[in-house]
């Protein structure tokens, strides 16, 4: 990065001023990983709310047979946007928020490897998300072919601009995500504090690491798939045009080569969160750390090898079907190892039922149910029955709501004091948990049954007079409403907490084990005034047991180099956004203009040196421990 020293010698103080921005400008120019983390968190929560509303409309439409809350077309748009929004714009960004904020703190770094790229990644993701949702503003049709966008429904048979928004908007937000993943990989490999070996890394960092690798490789496949869809739709390409000899199954392969790792991209970080929260509130170290690391790696690796189990009914033949079936079933083994390790972490511990821990503990049974139905789905011959029915809907919601969302909420309650200096209200948190638990099981448990008795997924309505369908769907809708209420309470909780004064201590849960709990809440912009020396797994716990009040430093107190903020990432993303709209509406001027903005910004970035600035020891409050 260009903020390094212009000359290769050791004078550190001579140059650089901090460019101070305030208010909105501060947020759109920031390259601080903590602020970008918060931006990711709130952008993700915003899209989570939108996706949640879409889900409620879906359930309201299905509450009664032949209901007409929304039209068939609108329903297809809702399911597509619900899936796309929740996966790409809500779950992953919220997780990225935690990655960004927590990983550098947990590995003892002052920032991520590429602060500028980090900001670019966020803004590209954000504007990609806006582009995906732009139909709400322009009145065009929204994407309507399901989040899987199967060709040729998504290419030749989807009228309007909806699927262009999908392919281009997702392309942009995918690029942002890819940049983020790359950043985390390098951060974790290169930026660890002295003594922090890979096998001393907190499990959250490990899962983030594996997740980021999956992102780098999986999202590239998606990028190509989306490029192909764009070519077919905008330039008359023939990738998936069967009449001209193209092959619609090619899309399914490419999509699921991305799509299956995506599932692990979403759930592995939740595994990591659990592996932080449960030990903390059990006052016990994680049971079987090494096997957890290996299980994570194996899940990540196998996750790439099993994509075709989404395609059992496509007609791949018995050989391919059984191979993928067995490979898929194998994933249950490392996942099982994790489940048992968590249970045995609690075993003989002293469990405290804080809101954060409730979500973490609630994860285990819910996710286990999702896991066993996953094994059932993996059995090819059974999948012929389950495929594309509500059984599948139930399964992946048990995994994603029971897994990822529980994990996200646990992380939110757990790290909120570190991020914002205030602890979320515990009582409201517990109400959120119980409402979510009840609502979620009410919504989805019954859908297993609905699927097996014959209700296909993605149907905008169903006929009256089918045994039990009306009642079961109504129950499901009531459950969804309860989940809605629980999220509203969470939002209220966040708002009222943010209005209170900051009062959190460094280690508000008192049993924090990893390094983020060794520094103030919220952390200063330079994180650690002295880079810490890591002396074991659960570095902060080790120091606490040794009677220390701070991490042992690895360097003397000295000036700290910080990168300057920059508006360029924001402008570059706007350039990409404009170009994207240009592609959608065939406006050459906008394409050229948008890409021009991008190129100019890149030239500026490469020509103008920004050496950053230094925080002098005098500015750092309090004296550091002498090294």
């Amino acid at each position: 990065m260009a903020h390094a020293h212009a000359q290769a010698h050791a004078h550190a103080h001579a140059h650089g001023h901090k460019k101070r921005y305030t208010g909105v400008m501060d947020w759109i120019t920031t390259v601080d990983h903590k602020k970008i983390g918060i931006l990711y968190l709130f952008a993700g929560l915003l899209f989570f709310a939108i996706g949640g509303l879409e889900a409620l409309f879906i359930r309201l439409q299905l509450a009664y047979p032949m209901n007409d809350v929304v039209s068939a077309q609108r329903f297809n748009e809702l399911i597509t946007m619900h899936g796309t929004t929740m996966l790409f714009l809500a779950a992953l960004p919220i997780l990225y928020g935690f990655f960004n904020f927590i990983i550098p703190l947990q590995i003892g770094a002052r920032d991520v490897a590429f602060p500028f790229l980090n900001s670019l990644g966020f803004w590209t993701f954000f504007f990609g998300g806006v582009l995906l949702n732009i139909g709400f503003f322009t009145g065009d049709t929204l994407p309507d072919s399901g989040w899987t966008a199967y060709a040729p429904l998504a290419t030749e048979y989807s009228a309007g601009r909806g699927m262009d928004m999908y392919s281009i908007g997702l392309q942009l937000s995918g690029i942002g995500t890819l940049l983020g993943g790359l950043n985390f990989v390098v951060t974790i490999v290169n930026m660890r504090a002295p003594g922090m070996t890979m096998m001393r890394m907190p499990l959250f960092c490990w899962t983030a690491f594996i997740t980021s690798i999956l992102i780098v490789f999986a999202f590239s496949a998606l990028a190509v798939g989306l490029l192909m869809i764009s070519f077919d739709r905008l330039f008359g390409g023939n990738f998936f045009n069967t009449a001209a000899g193209g092959n619609e199954i090619l899309w399914q392969h490419i999509f699921w080569i991305f799509g299956h790792p995506e599932v692990y991209i979403l759930v592995l970080p939740a595994f990591g969160i659990l592996s932080e929260v449960i030990p903390t509130f059990s006052r016990k170290r994680l049971f079987g750390y090494t096997s957890m690391v290996f299980a994570t790696s194996i899940i990540g690796f196998l996750g790439f090898m099993v994509w075709a189990h989404h395609m059992f009914t496509v007609g791949m033949g018995a050989v391919a079907n059984t191979m993928f079936a067995v490979a898929t079933m194998l994933i249950a083994v490392p996942t099982g190892i994790k489940i048992f390790n968590w249970i045995f972490t609690m075993w003989k511990g002293q469990i405290r039922f804080t809101a954060a821990n409730l979500f973490a503990i609630g994860f285990i049974p819910s996710f286990t149910i999702g896991g066993v139905t996953g094994v059932m789905l993996a059995m090819a011959a059974s999948d012929y029955v389950f495929h594309d029915t509500y059984f599948v809907v139930a399964h992946f919601h048990y995994v994603i709501v029971g897994g990822t969302v529980h994990g996200i909420f646990a992380a939110l309650f757990y790290w909120f004091p570190k991020m914002f200096g205030r602890t979320l209200n515990e009582t409201l948190g517990k109400i959120t948990f119980w409402l979510l638990l009840i609502g979620f099981n009410l919504t989805f448990f019954i859908q297993h049954w609905l699927g097996v008795v014959g209700m296909p997924r993605r149907v905008y309505t169903y006929l009256d007079g089918q045994p039990g369908w009306n009642e079961m769907n109504l129950v499901s809708t009531i459950g969804a409403l309860l989940m809605g209420v629980s999220v509203v309470i969470l939002v209220i909780n966040i708002v009222i907490t943010l209005m209170k004064p900051k009062n959190a201590t460094n280690d508000p849960w008192e049993d924090g084990r990893t390094m983020e709990w060794a520094i103030p809440s919220p952390p200063p912009e330079y994180n650690f005034k002295q880079t810490p020396l890591v002396r074991g797994l659960d570095a902060w716990w080790v120091e606490k047991r040794a009677g220390n009040k701070e991490m042992t430093p690895a360097e003397p107190v000295g000036p700290i180099h910080m990168p300057n903020g920059s508006i360029l990432p924001f402008i570059m993303s706007i350039g990409l956004f404009i170009a994207g709209i240009g592609f959608m509406y065939d406006t050459l001027l906008m394409i050229v203009g948008g890409l021009g903005i991008l190129v100019i910004c890149m030239i500026l970035r490469s020509l103008i040196d920004d050496p950053g600035y230094h925080i002098e020891p005098e500015e750092i409050e309090g004296k550091g421990v002498k090294a």
Binding site: A193, M196, I213, A320, E555
Partner: protein, 108 residues
């Protein structure tokens, strides 16, 4: 900050003299040229079976790429654990994407 997260020790080791000489790179260039000429020649000669030519072409391409990755892009040097891993994983992805596309479209 320079000592935060030292990369693997290989970076610290001084390389032997001669490593940086142009010889290795020129040899790589020569190998690449020869393999390329062979590839073009294999196509131009009539009468060889298609399957044999395909196999030969792919093998020569892989050889050329491996040589270039190892010497020109320094993957053979120490301290390239993670880059090598990235390349291997990428290659693995390619193999199964191509294999599945070929398997699906041609054979099923």
């Amino acid at each position: 900050m320079a000592h935060v997260g030292q990369a693997p020790a290989g970076d610290q080791v001084k390389r032997s003299k001669g490593h940086e000489g142009p010889r290795n790179h020129l040899i790589t260039f020569a190998i690449s040229i020869i393999l390329t000429i062979l590839a073009f020649a294999a196509v131009s000669i009539p009468g060889i079976s298609k399957g044999f030519v395909y196999t030969l072409l792919v093998l020569m391409a892989i050889m050329q790429v491996v040589v270039q990755l190892a010497f020109w892009m320094h993957l053979k040097d120490r301290g390239h654990f993670w880059p090598t891993l990235a390349m291997i994983f990428g290659a693995l992805c390619i193999v199964y994407v191509v294999a599945s596309a070929v398997f699906w479209i041609w054979f099923v």
